[in-house]
Symmetry: C2
Subunit: 244 residues, 2 copies
């Protein structure tokens, strides 16, 4: 039976990606019962799978609809291009075009570094970091948490240690300090969220998260920031441009 | 408390990458309770974090062990560097160092193109593609399916339409045809697999897949190949190097 529900969900998923539009109504339970010759419970389970994956939403007493939230294209190269942050623009704004977003739960503080962060930043055990932690909310949905770590010895007395680092953000400020980031490494993993993480990003059961760890380096190879990001995989498409 | 669980997980993660070997037993809950002075629940949560991340596995009634399958680092830039395939090396070999892999279920055939592939390759509805489909198996585990689509009009009469395209693979052969790929776009999504996909990659429940769609372009911007890849997210770490 679970077999059949998954097969129906597979078919509906293909229709969502091929012909249906955001906001379109999916076939209801009675239609699925009729078309597939399955029990009502099986039809419901198929629709629940799509809701859990974040592809569909249920509206009480009305039916199940293709999710309206448009995916966010995250174009790594455009985000990190100096033309953007060098000109005072927000890296984050590069993703969204004219869609509105808010930053919530911003915290900036000095602290010890988690060990893997210390290793990436080439810090000794007793060296501290400035931590900048925040969540991004788009159209009412929390889509990403980002936690930046910067060596306190570099940035403690700069605007980077303040809640608002000013135009162009922390990369522009690092450049002001003679620590311009020019090379970046992004390391991505996809996995199911822990319970805490699924609360943080309000992801539905069955939606993975993407964990991106970015390290920023100066021209002479010094690591100056690690940004540990957690993305709701249901809303993001990650794009990279590469040359041979 | 959650902080503490994460800190313990951080410590164990560092030990996994620094001293422990695949298959080694991690400290059990009693040892963590003793060493960190935490509640049993916190110790358990720390170990669960590592299991969720695919770094450790639980064995019933025995404990938690470092996962035996080492993650595969997929370094996009190194894979696509011309120094590799231009010199006759396999793109795939770039990921694995000296680990063994086999290619299975290789199929090469001419066919119509799925609609989104036709759009990416700028083909009309009636234009055909050469499809190269295969699975990669590493140390007994199927880790990736890759399906390449190339316009049949370009490659029909070349070694690319043969099962073995020869040294350097299809990128080297495209260069031979005056269609050297020099720019690449990779688009990544993470999601739960369909039933068919979880069978194909033998992924365990609760393991997502990463869907990577790569388009290869010539210097004058012509798309010459689309490679639709499906990766077991539990075994891959994707890495990208970028410049500002």
């Amino acid at each position: 039976m679970a077999e059949t529900a998954r097969q129906i969900a597979d078919d509906l998923r293909a229709r969502i990606s091929d012909d249906l539009m955001p906001g379109d109504r999916l076939p209801g339970e009675p239609a699925l019962v009729r078309d597939y010759g399955v029990a009502k419970e099986t039809a419901r389970r198929a629709l629940t799978l799509l809701v859990d994956e974040g592809l569909a939403v249920r509206r009480r007493g009305s039916g199940t609809y293709v999710r309206e939230f448009r995916p966010i294209p995250r174009v790594a190269n455009k985000r990190l291009a100096k033309e953007g942050w060098g000109a005072g623009k927000s890296i984050w704004g590069a993703d969204l075009g004219d869609r509105e977003f808010t930053v919530t739960d911003l915290e900036v503080y000095e602290s010890g570094a988690p060990r893997h962060i210390a290793r990436l930043l080439e810090l000794n055990e007793d060296e501290l970091v400035i931590v900048r932690s925040r969540r991004y909310v788009v159209e009412g949905e929390p889509v990403q948490q980002a936690i930046s770590y910067l060596p306190a010895k570099h940035v403690r007395d700069s605007p980077i240690a303040q809640p608002d680092p000013g135009e162009g953000g922390i990369y522009r400020r690092l450049a002001d300090l003679g620590l311009e980031p020019v090379h970046f490494t992004e390391e991505l993993r996809a996995r199911m969220p822990s319970q805490e993480e699924s609360t943080l990003l309000a992801v539905s059961a069955g939606t993975p998260v993407v964990d991106i760890c970015r390290t920023a380096f100066t021209a002479d190879g010094r690591p100056v920031e690690v940004n540990q990001m957690l993305l709701n995989a249901g809303v993001y498409v990650m794009r990279y441009h590469l040359d041979s």
